[in-house]
């Protein structure tokens, strides 16, 4: 199993701990990663809204790099997977779009062919053969109550992101993270408005407070259910919950803060990696107390 690792911008620059955890987890589970000179995806919440053509062309460029190397793309961020999957689908389906984009790319010797697929680390880890390996390789369980926050861009719109999973009512309710974490001993816990957006795009584009207002609502639902930690699959969501709780607590004493984990950090801990190895020390809301209570250092 070999993938071109698409890191995006936020993780390698701001949260390299997620990248480190991911690389180690992949190595232990037999997933080979190849690095390439990718550029910004670009984000579905910024470039796409401002200039669609540019968004499509830059996304196509990234896909072309993977095509040229002959590997499917593995992303770590919901935003990246949303951009790359949608661009991939649009370009595969529309000849006119393809022609137009290839015109912008041709002088750089790139040409979109439609030969690779785009996937997210959650989907890769959820494959049967990887899960089997995980069960074999794990050295400890993580018996904590975790709320899984999938974010929005990972799975919506379902007809683009997971067309094969559409329900009778044309929706898709993802469960992969809950299932995967339960394999490593986690107790995945439901909470209200689980699939509500974290508020990050609002914070990034308009006003930080606006974004955090949405995050605050989510946090109140999470706290209602005695959830001990959050698991996310996107660095933007991570920041909303991590930095967000710090910012929000400056205004109101909102109770105890809940640490947030990136998915591969939890999986890494189960595989025996240390707290430092998965980069937990740079989180703003510390997980130390929680992890100490279950003997993880």
């Amino acid at each position: 199993m070999k993938y071109a690792l698409y890191l995006g911008c936020a993780i390698p620059i701001k949260y390299p701990g997620f990248e480190a955890a991911t690389r180690q987890v992949c190595e232990r589970l037999g997933i080979e990663l190849v690095d390439m000179a990718f550029s910004c995806c670009p984000p579905p919440t910024s470039m796409k809204l401002v200039h669609y053509d540019s968004w499509l062309a830059l996304a196509a460029r990234n896909i072309c790099l993977a095509e040229e190397a002959g590997h499917d793309l593995l992303t770590l961020c919901s935003g990246c997977v949303n951009t790359l999957k949608e661009a991939n689908q649009v370009l595969k389906q529309s000849e006119s779009k393809r022609r137009k984009v290839n015109k912008a790319l041709e002088e750089h010797n790139h040409s979109f062919q439609g030969t690779v697929e785009v996937t997210h680390i959650l989907d890769v880890l959820y494959q049967d053969v990887v899960v089997e390996r995980l069960i074999k390789e794990k050295v400890r369980d993580i018996p904590i109550r975790v709320g899984c926050h999938y974010g929005c861009h990972y799975f919506r719109p379902p007809k683009v992101m997971y067309p094969e999973e559409l329900s009778d009512s044309e929706s898709y309710v993802p469960v992969k993270m809950d299932h995967l974490l339960s394999i490593i001993g986690v107790e995945p816990t439901e909470f209200s408005r689980k699939f509500l957006c974290c508020g990050s795009p609002l914070g990034a584009n308009v006003d930080q407070d606006a974004g955090y207002a949405i995050t605050r609502q989510k946090l109140s639902y999470i706290q209602e259910r005695n959830i001990q930690a959050l698991s996310v699959i996107c660095p933007s969501c991570f920041e909303q919950f991590d930095l967000g709780q710090i910012v929000l607590s400056r205004k109101t004493k909102d109770g105890e803060k809940i640490p947030t984990f990136f998915l591969t950090q939890l999986v890494g801990l189960a595989l025996g990696l240390s707290v430092r190895e998965v980069g937990l020390d740079v989180h703003r809301v510390k997980a130390k107390k929680l992890l100490d209570s279950i003997n993880i250092i």
């Binding site: 890191l7 911008c9 936020a10 390698p12 620059i13 701001k14 390299p16 701990g17 990248e19 480190a20 690095d35 390439m36 000179a37 550029s39 910004c40 670009p42 984000p43 919440t45 910024s46 470039m47 796409k48 809204l49 401002v50 200039h51 669609y52 053509d53 540019s54 499509l56 062309a57 830059l58 460029r61 689908q89 649009v90 389906q93 529309s94 006119s96 779009k97 137009k100 912008a104 790319l105 750089h108 929005c152 919506r156 719109p157 683009v160 044309e170 929706s171 699939f195 509500l196 957006c197 508020g199 795009p201 609002l202 990034a204 584009n205 308009v206 606006a210 207002a213 949405i214 609502q217």
Partner: protein, 161 residues
């Protein structure tokens, strides 16, 4: 539909969205009822946006700053009983808005950064931080290539870079 939405070089939304599709909206408000921006700005909503598109025409709409309150989370489209491409519409409206200079300050700065560096984050003592985590330095982005591509697609009509 997905077919036609792609290249927004001509910013007339009626070229890319069939009027009949938007007329199907019977204003049930499930979209606005699900919208995360509701927490922050009660005056914004996808339902109203569609109504305005059909009634007032999109000219006034694209000058409204509240358009940018949309998180593109796509729940509206998910819950719409008429399967109206609300999220796509909001993307198109914002593209139109950007062309007219209706674009939040923070966002133009972010786009400018992207266009100039090929990344959406400022790189600051990056290699040091990465090696702290045992990671190799990031391969550099071919900045000129990015710039040229963006010139070709016409980003400079919206943002100077």
């Amino acid at each position: 539909m997905q077919e036609e939405r792609g290249i927004m070089t001509v910013f007339k939304i009626w070229k890319h969205f069939k009027r009949e599709e938007l007329y199907e909206c019977y204003q049930c408000a499930r979209c606005t009822g699900s919208c995360p921006a509701m927490e922050v700005a009660p005056a914004f909503g996808p339902r109203e946006t569609i109504l305005k598109c059909l009634g007032l025409g999109y000219d006034q709409l694209v000058e409204d700053e509240k358009l940018w309150l949309c998180c593109t989370c796509n729940v509206c489209e998910d819950r719409c009983p008429q399967k109206i491409p609300i999220s796509d519409l909001l993307v198109a409206l914002r593209n139109s808005a950007a062309l007219r200079g209706n674009i939040p300050g923070r966002l133009s700065i972010a786009i400018e950064l992207l266009a100039k560096t090929g990344r959406s984050m400022i790189v600051h003592q990056l290699d040091e931080m990465r090696s702290h985590h045992g990671l190799a330095p990031l391969p550099p982005v071919p900045v000129d290539e990015i710039r040229q591509i963006l010139k070709k697609t016409g980003l400079d009509a919206v943002i100077e870079f």
